[in-house]
């Protein structure tokens, strides 16, 4: 395992790096590709696009997902859109501008070379999706329509109503289905990867639990790709799907993959506020709504009048007031923090007072309700079903919620982790968004990784080494199976009093209160003492009924929550060590007089890559310095 990080960033001018790198990488000749076998875990945008493309190239591909069908992956839920600097609107967009916006939006904590490459390949993603039959929104002339997202002053977001993720995922799923039909991909549904298998220091397979009959199965290959999504569910309440979890990346971390920037969490500003204690998840109201909705609170603290009774001059459209040039379209971290500040100062609305208004009255007056319905109808319907309120008549109530994790397994420019042969794509890696992701950039990154990056870089890895055949009868697989079975037995054997769900909620609250939107050293230290106590209690006192040789959701969740305890601790450590504010990581001690995040570039312009040193033991910090040659760091301004 390496002790220093080599990010493999190519030299030369940034516009030429990816082209030069592609040229210098080794190729696997077409006839040899079928001799290599790649395992892909996950079928979201990143996993499906990678698996389909690798199979098209001729590799043999095995795909595992805990879902019943590849199409059910969490990517399906993305609403708002996907960015690409096509400049179809002739409004001054370019690869350079998307690159610049993303580095700045990430608060100068991302790798310039990766971001440039992302901007460069993103146009091809839109071409690819259209060719697959993705029904993007169009204008009357038949050409593609765009909308605007936060952190940008151009319209570069492509969308399919409020179901962009669904349509993109169906495109990738269909491409994958075509390869399954050709028998170049074998797909195993309802399989949860529970361990990574290394042979001679390289990733050579996984152990997974068959979730229908509970048996442990081993899969072997020449390389392993994790495309297993984000870990926002550490907080229990988030906009992520219920089953989204960190187990694949966490178990790989425990096998030696470094974890990059675990504390960078995105809190999305426009979600339906928490109602009551039984709530199982939070629902996002797409950021696209900020194109036409205006955010406001009553000027007077504690004003309990109905929104319609508050006259115009007694409303504070605080984002428009504070940020005249970006207005309601400031980046997410800024919008979330300001909403929290308004509520903390007594301007919150609704029964819990933890909400602000998102108002469409102006848009309806200007363009009519039908116009709004055509653009956002499904979101208004969703809001109505959940809250029982009609947002065409009363403003929506919204509040920030955990949404996305910029942190993830550390990868080099080739998307390879610190474990040779293990690649990480999509939200599961730490790569391109720095300390804050801009809206509509996750779909872009997942598909860039899968369609256009991994197909090249994995070839270079496979062509660079020789692979001794490693069957599933290898002792390393037996060891991994034994270790997984041991964890399951411990979980079933505790026979305590508290449910997995109760522990998860408790951990989530602890994390939200102490490692959420506003962090302080004091709160983080408190969490650092409380999490291990709760973890120890979990192992003694949890109850997991039923058996492990059966479809048993409690066993599945118990494994996931066990990992959350360890990951939560790492997130807190990372947040505590980063004595600055940057993007989604806001330390109250480090802010400007105007309440903006205050970075410390002297000390913290690096990626924190943590090495696992044992449960409860202090992890080892490795630093990858960040160099900004093209976008000079400055205090972000959206005024």
């Amino acid at each position: 395992m390496p002790t220093t990080l080599n990010s493999q960033i190519p030299g030369g001018p940034i516009e030429k790096r990816w082209d030069d790198h592609r040229f210098s990488m080794k190729l696997v000749n077409p006839a040899n590709k079928r001799k290599y076998h790649v395992i892909v875990i996950g079928t979201g945008l990143a996993g499906s696009s990678a698996a389909a493309t690798l199979a098209e190239l001729g590799y043999r591909v095995t795909v595992l997902s805990f879902h019943e069908s590849p199409r059910r992956a969490h990517s399906i839920a993305a609403q708002g859109g996907i960015n690409a600097p096509k400049n179809y609107q002739n409004d001054g967009d370019s690869v350079w501008r998307l690159f610049y916006d993303t580095v700045k939006g990430g608060d100068y904590r991302a790798r310039e070379s990766n971001v440039y490459r992302l901007a460069q390949v993103s146009g091809s993603i839109i071409d690819q999706c259209v060719a697959q039959g993705v029904p993007f929104a169009r204008e009357y002339g038949g050409l593609l329509d765009n909308r605007s997202f936060g952190g940008a002053q151009v319209s570069r977001t492509f969308y399919a109503r409020g179901q962009t993720g669904q349509q993109l995922l169906l495109g990738a799923y269909q491409a994958l289905s075509k390869e399954i039909a050709k028998k170049r991909v074998t797909f195993y549904p309802r399989r949860e990867m529970l361990d990574l298998v290394l042979i001679d220091g390289r990733a050579r397979g996984v152990v997974a639990r068959n979730m229908v009959d509970g048996s442990l199965e081993s899969y072997t290959g020449d390389a392993v790709i994790l495309a297993t999504g984000g870990y926002g569910n550490v907080f229990y309440l988030s906009t992520n799907a219920k089953a989204s979890n960190a187990t694949a990346i966490w178990r790989a971390h425990k096998r030696g993959a470094f974890f990059g920037n675990p504390c960078y969490t995105q809190i999305h500003p426009t979600c339906i506020p928490v109602g009551s204690g039984f709530q199982s998840k939070l629902t996002l109201m797409s950021e696209s709504l900020r194109n036409d909705g205006r955010i406001w609170v009553p000027k007077k603290a504690g004003d309990a009048r109905a929104p319609g009774d508050i006259p115009e001059n007694e409303r504070d459209y605080y984002l428009e007031r504070l940020y005249p040039s970006f207005g309601n379209l400031v980046p997410r971290d800024v919008a979330s923090r300001r909403a929290k500040e308004m509520c903390d100062n007594g301007h919150g609305v609704g029964t819990t007072k933890l909400a602000v208004y998102l108002d469409f009255a102006d848009a309806i007056r200007r363009n009519g309700a039908d116009w709004v319905r055509e653009k956002y109808g499904n979101l208004f319907d969703m809001y109505h079903e959940i809250t029982g309120e009609n947002a065409y008549e009363v403003p929506m109530r919204i509040y920030p919620a955990v949404h996305y994790t910029m942190g993830g397994l550390w990868v080099d420019y080739n998307l390879m982790s610190t474990i040779p042969g293990m690649f990480v794509l999509g939200e599961a890696n730490f790569s391109d968004h720095g300390a804050n992701r801009l809206g509509a950039s996750a779909l872009m990154q997942g598909l860039a990784d899968g369609y256009f990056i991994i197909p090249y870089t994995i070839g270079n890895y496979l062509a660079s080494g020789t692979f001794t055949p490693a069957g599933t009868d290898h002792a390393a697989f037996r060891d991994a199976e034994k270790s997984v079975a041991g964890v399951t037995a411990r979980l079933l054997g505790a026979k305590g009093k508290k449910t997995v769900e109760e522990y998860h909620r408790e951990l989530g609250t602890l994390m939200w209160d102490n490692c959420g939107m506003a962090r302080t050293a004091e709160k983080l230290k408190k969490a650092l003492t409380e999490i291990p106590l709760l973890r120890e209690d979990f192992w003694k006192n949890v109850t997991v009924p039923g058996s492990s040789d059966d479809l048993n959701g409690e066993v599945e969740r118990a494994h996931r929550v066990a990992d959350y305890f360890e990951l939560a601790e790492l997130m807190v450590r990372d947040a505590l060590h980063r004595e600055e504010s940057a993007g989604g990581h806001f330390r109250e001690e480090y802010q400007t007089s105007e309440g903006e995040a205050k970075r410390d570039d002297e000390k913290f312009s690096y990626v924190a890559a943590w090495e696992f040193a044992g449960t409860g033991a202090e992890p080892v910090l490795h630093k990858e310095p960040l160099a900004f040659e093209y976008v000079k760091p400055s205090q972000r301004s959206y005024k």
Binding site: L144, G388, T499, L551, E554
Partner: protein, 245 residues
């Protein structure tokens, strides 16, 4: 609110199932149906009993994982929502609620309320795609698509593959599911090259999987959480006949 629930319990694929009765109180009107079931499960788990197995994930009506047959209706009494979106305000206090899995020959029960819908995937594998590989495609704006075609294609593409259409149909037909994909791709220029082949293969796969035929009862349209219209089925039939010529 309080409810008495009659829920289908079945240990495994080949074992026999029965209804079991459960009660739950303290249910709020804003709770989702699945949050109510979570509550029942928490009680069972605390008592050391096996939780009721059901599928769900996104809980916002888009992944198609959830699907319960509630009081004889796929996804319950509200129109245009999936089970996970359904709120308890659609029920009256004290009501008895019967919960069953999707029942169809092509969707065998795996456990309790969980069924095997992989037949849908195999139908898509038979031809529900455009055969383009990654790379080498034209610019996205090279082929204009009339707005109304794109909108109509999107209406069909909105299908979440939940299987409510099959569960609602007395024949267990997957016509609405298949027709939605056929329509989506037939309406776009990108889908033209394989148009005939696609419909022929997908319809054959649907039959092979053991889904029944369509006898125009329109139950599928009534229960579809995405309100996919039966006009897509008419289009599929037309496409099918044209392909044979």
């Amino acid at each position: 609110m309080n409810f008495t629930l009659k829920i289908w319990r079945q240990p495994g694929r080949t074992s026999a199932g029965t209804f079991k009765q459960y009660t739950i109180d303290g249910v709020a009107a804003d709770m989702s149906f699945l949050e109510m079931l979570d509550g029942v499960n928490q009680k069972l788990v605390r008592g050391g009993e096996d939780a009721i197995a059901f599928d769900s994930d996104c809980r916002e009506g888009i992944c198609g994982s959830c699907g319960l047959f509630i009081n004889g209706r796929a996804h319950g009494p509200a129109r245009g929502v999936a089970t996970c979106e359904l709120r308890m305000r659609h029920f009256t206090d004290g009501e008895a609620i019967t919960v069953e899995p999707w029942r169809a020959k092509a969707f065998p029960v795996i456990k309790d309320l969980v069924v095997d819908r992989t037949g849908f995937d195999r139908i898509i594998q038979a031809g529900g795609y455009v055969s383009v590989n990654t790379g080498g495609v034209p610019d996205a704006n090279a082929i204009p698509v009339p707005k109304h075609s794109a909108e109509e294609a999107m209406d069909a593409a909105a299908c979440i593959g939940c299987g409510a259409c099959v569960a609602a149909c007395k024949n267990g037909s997957a016509s609405l599911f298949v027709a939605a994909k056929i329509s989506h791709l037939a309406l776009l220029p990108q889908g033209q090259a394989e148009r005939k082949d696609r419909v022929t293969k997908m319809v054959a796969a649907m039959d092979e999987e053991g889904f029944g035929g369509c006898s125009n009862t329109y139950a599928c349209e009534a229960e579809c959480p995405k309100l996919i219209p039966v006009t897509t089925i008419a289009r599929m039939n037309r496409e099918f006949l044209l392909a044979k010529k």
